[in-house]
Amino acid sequence: MIGKVRSHIVQEEPLVFELSSAGKRGFQLPALDVPAADPAAALGAENVRGPLEGFPEVSEVEALRHFTRLSTWNYAIDLGMYPLGSCTMKYNPRAHEEAARVEGLAWAHPYQPEELAQGCLEIMARLEEALAEITGMDAVSLQPAAGAHGELTGILLVRALLETRGNPRRKILIPDSAHGTNPATAAIAGYAVENIKSNARGMIDLEAFPGLVTEEVAALMLTNPNTLGVFEVNIARIAEILHEKGALLYMDGANMNALVGVTRPGDAGVDVLHLNLHKTFSTPHGGGGPGSGPVAVKRELEPFLPKPRLKREGGRWRLDYDRPQSIGRVRAFYGNFGVLVRALAYILACGAEGLRAATLDAVLNSNYVRKALEPYYDLPHREPSMHECVFSDQRQARRGVRTMDIAKRLIDYGFHPYTVSFPLIVPGALMIEPTESESRRELDLFIQAMIAIAREAEENPELVRTAPHTTRTSRVDEVTAARKPVLRWRPGS
């Protein structure tokens, strides 16, 4: 019995191109208060384009309905639990959207004179300070646009520091449980990747580890808690081993939601880490972005941070470009400022106590789910869970039901699925991160759904294998999509 959702009707809607009709329009410009310029004369006739064939021609009401209807086909945090592991799909406070739209902030130009941008600079400075305090690090750069971008920045910092020590070294150690962005990042930063095998407990094998840290190793990229949701209890020792060999400890802070207010990476010996403001600090995911991936470093690495840096001078903030050791820029301007506003708003709203309370609830929720589902799903690693727990589909697989099938069936029960097939070290993984934003009621419904699906997998595996059954769109053929890519609309298609 599915009680969380019911079947209802949603509006169909074609692509916007299919709504167009010549001459319809959705916007009007104010009348021009200067003489018109002849495009051909001003730009050269050869540079002026013909009509934008196929571009939309719809009225305002059609545009609004179009996107409103499309929106009803989506699931979202606002609609319910979204336990996508590693993504920290927590509540996005709506007041913070208002904060980001404050006129003086939203309309500030990145090149407006610094004395007329003190509000923006102050916000950035305050956020840097708060993030340094939360992570136990010494300095923060807000420039990176997302987690992966922060990783790249961080690894470039490592390289820059090692270069000043004479040798940037050749490789980066990455546990096999790491997120794909870690190795991809290392490669872009010009490093070779050496994958290291997790031990039976899902952690770094402290026996084998020292042997791996050769003079060639620039850094270890460690996710903590790791992608199994397990705290690397030996993190301080790992840092020591690295430091002894002149290597650095990079921490992927995507999972900071398990730690804020409880423990600080900086105190454990981490040299550099990135944060995902769109995870831990509640900024909305927006269907895939924007995010923000600040990098926090120890003092030693500070000279290399991307420029410009904020500098306090004569009671005012300015942007300091005179940073000879900087790795340079990783993007234009200063970062995803609008996201920074929302993250700082969250930190201010929570305060120290609220941030810690959120962490506690996040870990409570994950353990509550774990405990309830243990009898029904295989738990490949039995270490204590932090903010997420990872099951495998091993039991269900016997009946031909894989994690993706369970995920799709969860949709019928009214939930967004967990993260599927990640981390790679767990074959058929179900990675569940409830976050602190779920009430006991919602968690209980989730647990009931998961238990019901476990039963269905036994009794009627086909039902699960062909799910979802109740959505507007049934299971989507991703194979054909990749085999014969159709990446744009064309007339008559």
Binding site: V16, F17, S20, G23, K24, A37, P39, L43, G44, V48, R49, P51, F55, P56, A63, F67, T68, S71, W73, N74, Y75, A76, Y82, A95, E98, A99, G104, L105, A106, W107, P110, G119, C120, E133, A145, A148, G180, A236, V262, G287, G288, G289, P290, R329, R331, V339, C350, G351, E353, R356, L360, L364, N367, R440, P468, S474, P485, V486, L487, R488
Partner: protein, 443 residues
């Protein structure tokens, strides 16, 4: 804490179910010496009202005057529908549409986005967004390196200086060589012939921005021919997307990389914006970033999903086309709404108004370059420094142009000015007056 949906009774019952006594026990695996012994020094949580008041106060400390700054961040009207759509929780609070069956709205809108970008750029495929224009351009360069198997990039000096800096940051560790093609001091455009000389057998791409940082149109056609002659690709970069409403796309370009901020994104002190890369079908498998494709569901109905993900980091890991994961989806959605609302006619009209405004203003100022321009141009300050002119304008509550000395020492006496549909005639006349005052020695 008002965000947390739990009563104390809830917590107690849950702990009991887990078999614990206190929340602290949940953290017992963390070595005690690593656990914080005192609260973070962040102060108490604030009410919603206090939080908003803090940001309003910061907003008041910034100026919100009319401005003639462009240089990669433009002031354009924002149709109300943009925020209406982007504020719907169903878009705002969803994530990457991994689960196609409950993400068709996001997927369909990205598919529309990709299509509109193709229509605008004349390319055959576009990705779902990059962080911004500067990283889009940089990833386009990496893409060209992968496509050609070469390792040298020639980039026009008329490309946004910060974009070039980003390119250099990435290039440094990839053993990629970056060479700059100078601009003609007279026209402000790249000398295609000189650029051609810089292209060699190691060159993967020639990158030109058009309109370039000085607002001047580049000879893309000639540049493309030169690049292709040398076996390299031409990458066309744009920072002012509104120009696409009027300027013909370069048909020979291989990759177009740009910034969509002009499409309904407020300047926002530099972000979040959205970059995009478009290219030829044959290069699709070298595209970084997410792609949405059309397919069918199990009942044969049109459906959309993320596709070609074997290019991406979560599958290909260190051999991925890029490390990008989270992108700028909501910003791309805003741009999609913008393009829909303006539409075929509106986007052209918008571009025409920009052209008219900038040419009106330029007509009153001493232009530094002779090249054709869209809505930005460089003016020479005569009789006073650019900074002095800007100070005079600030007194009238107008933010002037960008003094160029910071990026181009040889242009230390110049300002980059941008006029858009939002620039009002009176404001432009005030700018002209300030220049005239300076030239006339009245400053």
């Amino acid at each position: 804490m008002r965000y947390l949906p739990k009563s104390e009774a809830d917590r107690r019952a849950m702990l009991e179910a887990i078999g614990l006594e206190s929340l602290e026990e949940l953290f017992s695996q963390i070595p005690p010496e690593l656990r914080l012994s005192e609260p973070l020094r962040l102060g108490p949580g604030l009410s919603e009202y206090e939080v908003l008041e803090y940001f309003r106060e910061q907003g008041r400390r910034n100026a919100t005057y009319p401005s003639f700054l462009g240089a990669g961040a433009y002031r354009h009207y924002r149709p109300s529908l943009v925020d209406v759509v982007a504020s719907r929780g169903e878009f705002l609070t969803a994530y990457t549409p991994y689960q196609a069956e409950i993400s068709q709205g996001i997927l369909a809108s990205i598919f529309e986005f990709q299509t509109m970008i193709c229509q605008l750029t004349g390319m055959e495929a576009a990705n779902a967004s990059m962080y911004d224009g500067s990283t889009a351009m940089t990833e386009a360069a990496l893409m060209a390196v992968r496509i050609t198997g070469r390792d040298r990039i020639v980039v026009g000096a008329g490309v946004h200086p910060e974009y070039r800096e980003v390119l250099r940051t990435y290039a440094r560790n990839q053993a990629m060589q970056v060479v700059e093609a100078p601009y003609e001091p007279e026209s402000g455009a790249t000398d295609a012939a000189r650029a051609a000389q810089l292209l060699d057998g190691r060159t993967a791409a020639l990158i030109l921005q058009s309109p370039n940082f000085f607002g001047v149109l580049e000879p893309l056609q000639a540049a493309a021919e030169a690049a292709h002659c040398a076996g390299a690709l031409l990458v066309h970069v744009f920072t002012e997307a509104v120009s696409l409403g009027l300027l013909a796309p370069c048909e020979q370009a291989d990759i177009v990389a740009g910034e969509l901020q002009s499409f309904a994104i407020p300047p926002g002190f530099g972000g979040p914006y959205a970059g995009v890369i478009a290219t030829r079908e044959k290069y699709v498998r070298q595209l970084p970033g997410r792609l949405v494709g059309q397919t069918t569901d199990s009942r044969g109905r049109r459906a959309f999903c993320l596709t070609l993900s074997t290019r991406e980091q979560h599958i290909r890991r260190e051999r991925a086309t890029s490390n990008i994961c989270t992108n700028q989806a909501l910003v791309a959605l805003m741009a999609t709404v913008f393009m829909t609302v303006y539409g075929k006619q509106g986007l052209r009209e918008l571009a025409e108004q920009n052209l008219a405004k900038a040419h009106y203003l330029a007509g009153k100022l001493p232009r530094r370059f002779s090249g054709r321009f869209f809505n930005e141009f460089v003016a020479r300050a005569e009789g006073a420094s650019p900074e002095r002119i800007n100070r005079a304008l600030l007194e009238k509550r107008i933010i002037g142009g960008l003094p160029l000395g910071r990026f181009y020492p040889e242009l230390a006496d110049c300002l980059l000015l941008c006029a858009t549909e939002m620039s009002r005639r009176e404001e432009m006349d005030a700018v002209a007056e300030a220049f005239a005052d300076a030239a006339g020695g009245r400053m």
